[in-house]
């Protein structure tokens, strides 16, 4: 599974996310920076895979952390900081994709997805093929279908996690993934 299960402390050392959240709420800037540094790469990776463009990553990372820090007081379970943060990223990405799709449809924005960029140079051939298969056609999907598809097929998240991140029911998530796969002709590889 991907981003949603990033451990709070990869090495087991250092304060937990919950401790950092509590300190951040108390106005400790170091704690905020620690939270940022702990999760920024995962957030950037998720933003990259959702949007498919490196140029969108910085905006999404910055906006997501800004929103998270503004709303930290409302987080019920501080230990769930990362899942909550990734939900924010997904919602911001959804907005960005909708806006981008509208502009593209109007013929204004035509920056092509760089498929060579999506798959890292160290990726095995079968992974490159699969990523290209998905990202090569993903632009035709609306955000409501694209995001569940990426969360499922690229991030490898469970349906329940996707439902929580997107604010939809599990049934809706399943339907959207199926619809996205059908649209992209990926149906034959769909999990049953």
């Amino acid at each position: 599974m991907g981003v949603a299960r990033e451990s709070a402390t990869r090495s087991g050392a250092g304060p937990t996310d919950a401790a950092l959240v509590v300190s951040s709420r108390a106005g400790e800037d170091w704690a905020r920076e620690a939270l940022f540094r702990r999760h920024a790469r995962a957030v950037g990776g998720l933003a990259f895979r959702l949007t498919g463009r490196d140029a969108d990553v910085d905006d999404l990372v910055q906006e997501s952390f800004m929103i998270a820090f503004e709303r930290l007081d409302k987080l019920d379970n501080p230990q769930a900081f990362s899942a909550w943060l990734f939900g924010i990223v997904v919602r911001r990405a959804h907005k960005l994709l909708r806006r981008r799709r509208l502009l593209t449809r109007l013929g204004f924005r035509d920056d092509e997805l760089d498929l060579e960029w999506v798959a890292g140079s160290n990726a095995p051939p079968d992974v490159v093929t699969e990523l290209k298969e998905i990202y090569g056609r993903i632009e035709q999907l609306p955000a409501t279908l694209r995001i569940p598809l990426v969360l499922r097929r690229v991030e490898g998240l469970q349906l329940a996690d996707i439902a929580e991140m997107t604010g939809a029911s599990i049934a809706t998530v399943k339907r959207r993934i199926a619809q996205a796969e059908e649209t992209l002709g990926l149906g034959e590889k769909r999990e049953r």
Binding site: D29, R32, A40, D59, E63, R71, L103, G107, A123, G156
Partner: protein, 369 residues
């Protein structure tokens, strides 16, 4: 596949310098909006470049301001003419102002702010042409018509060719055909500040004037990130009033916030208001479908769901949404034990979508084929 194999190899290059730049922006408490601003300006440019193609027929209207989704135009003392990309003509009267707003692939929306304008609309069934003036909504159904402020609070619509439908937030819509005209009657002075979208609130005599407050601004600011908190901006008791004065966009936000915060009845009310009050809005079809889902899944009202699904099928702007609605309707009719209706709907779906994504499920409905 169901692991994170792909995500491991699809990563951006994030080095320490990049992290430092990101943190610098975050720690200063300022969102990096370069991309967003670029998009906003781009959207404004698109509105101008794609939908408003100037022709120097007589005088060219002046672009007063352009925001993300709104272009404001004004004419001089002799009037102006502009031609939209679809071939429709708008002749703006002397000293008049209008906004081209909320333009999308399925709708052109123009708001007459002052003065008068003649519209010669190239009818496109896939694209609604809507004129709004002081709470009066004129929906083109293929026509040439005129909208005018006869006083600061009164709007007159007259049709010289074809037909239009005139809607207000309250009361039944009126249809006008060539040679007919309609006057709104005096209305209270509008006080709500333009917060990016003008509320289509009723201005009937006796109705309370809209009150300017920042509830919707507060609501919209957090609706995405915290639906439960957004819902509490109005609360259960305040939702009916909020629904009553919301724009189509706000209705959708109200519905989503209620839905996501586990208030299905309020969500259903907001979707219902959107699909019944703003039938020309491109979101109306989706609102009807969402309403049907809520009625079926959360409110246990299959008959109400079925009615909403029929509406969704009629209003749906795209085939995917329509197909979903038609498939769901088969299931609802089955729940209602309407054997004949279910069979008819099932057979219609299978004939219409021989390789539809819901085919397998629909085939098994109503006792199977």
């Amino acid at each position: 596949m169901n692991d994170d194999r792909l995500s491991k190899f699809a990563r951006p290059r994030i080095d320490d310098a990049r992290l430092a730049r990101q943190w610098s922006v975050i720690s200063r408490g300022r969102r990096a909006r370069s991309g967003a601003w670029m998009l906003a300006f781009a959207a404004a440019a698109v509105v101008i470049a794609c939908f408003v193609t100037w022709r120097l027929a007589r005088q060219t209207p002046v672009v007063v301001a352009a925001r993300a989704n709104v272009t404001e135009l004004a004419s001089d003392q002799t009037g102006s003419t502009l031609v939209l990309a679809d071939g429709s003509h708008i002749t703006i009267g002397p000293s008049s102002r209008l906004l081209v707003r909320e333009t999308s692939a399925t709708e052109t929306r123009v708001e007459l702010v002052a003065g008068r304008a003649d519209f010669d609309v190239k009818h496109d069934p896939a694209r609604a042409f809507v004129v709004v003036a002081k709470g009066v909504t004129v929906v083109d159904t293929g026509t040439r018509f005129h909208v005018e402020y006869t006083s600061p609070t009164e709007v007159r619509v007259s049709v010289s060719e074809g037909s239009v439908r005139v809607e207000r937030a309250q009361g039944a819509p009126s249809s006008l055909i060539a040679g007919e005209s309609w006057t709104s009657g005096p209305a209270p002075v509008e006080t709500a500040a333009d917060a990016g979208e003008t509320a289509e609130v009723p201005h009937d005599a006796g109705a309370a004037p809209p009150r300017a407050d920042d509830s919707f601004a507060r609501f919209s600011a957090i609706a995405d990130s915290d639906p439960a908190a957004a819902f509490e901006v109005f609360g259960v008791s305040g939702y009916p009033r909020a629904i009553g004065r919301a724009t189509p966009k706000q209705l959708f936000e109200l519905a989503d916030a209620a839905r996501l915060s586990d208030h299905p009845a309020q969500a259903a009310d907001a979707f219902d208001a959107l699909r019944s009050r703003h039938r020309a809005d491109p979101r109306a079809g989706l609102a009807a479908l969402q309403l049907a889902r809520l009625r079926e899944d959360r409110l246990h009202d299959p008959a109400g769901a079925e009615a909403a699904l029929r509406d969704a099928i009629a209003l749906a702007p795209d085939a995917t949404l329509r197909e979903d609605a038609e498939a769901r309707r088969v299931g609802v009719l089955e729940k209602m034990n309407d054997k004949a209706g279910c069979t008819e709907a099932r057979d219609a779906y299978l004939a219409k979508y021989p390789s539809g994504i819901h085919r397998a499920k629909v085939e098994k409905s109503c006792g199977g084929r």
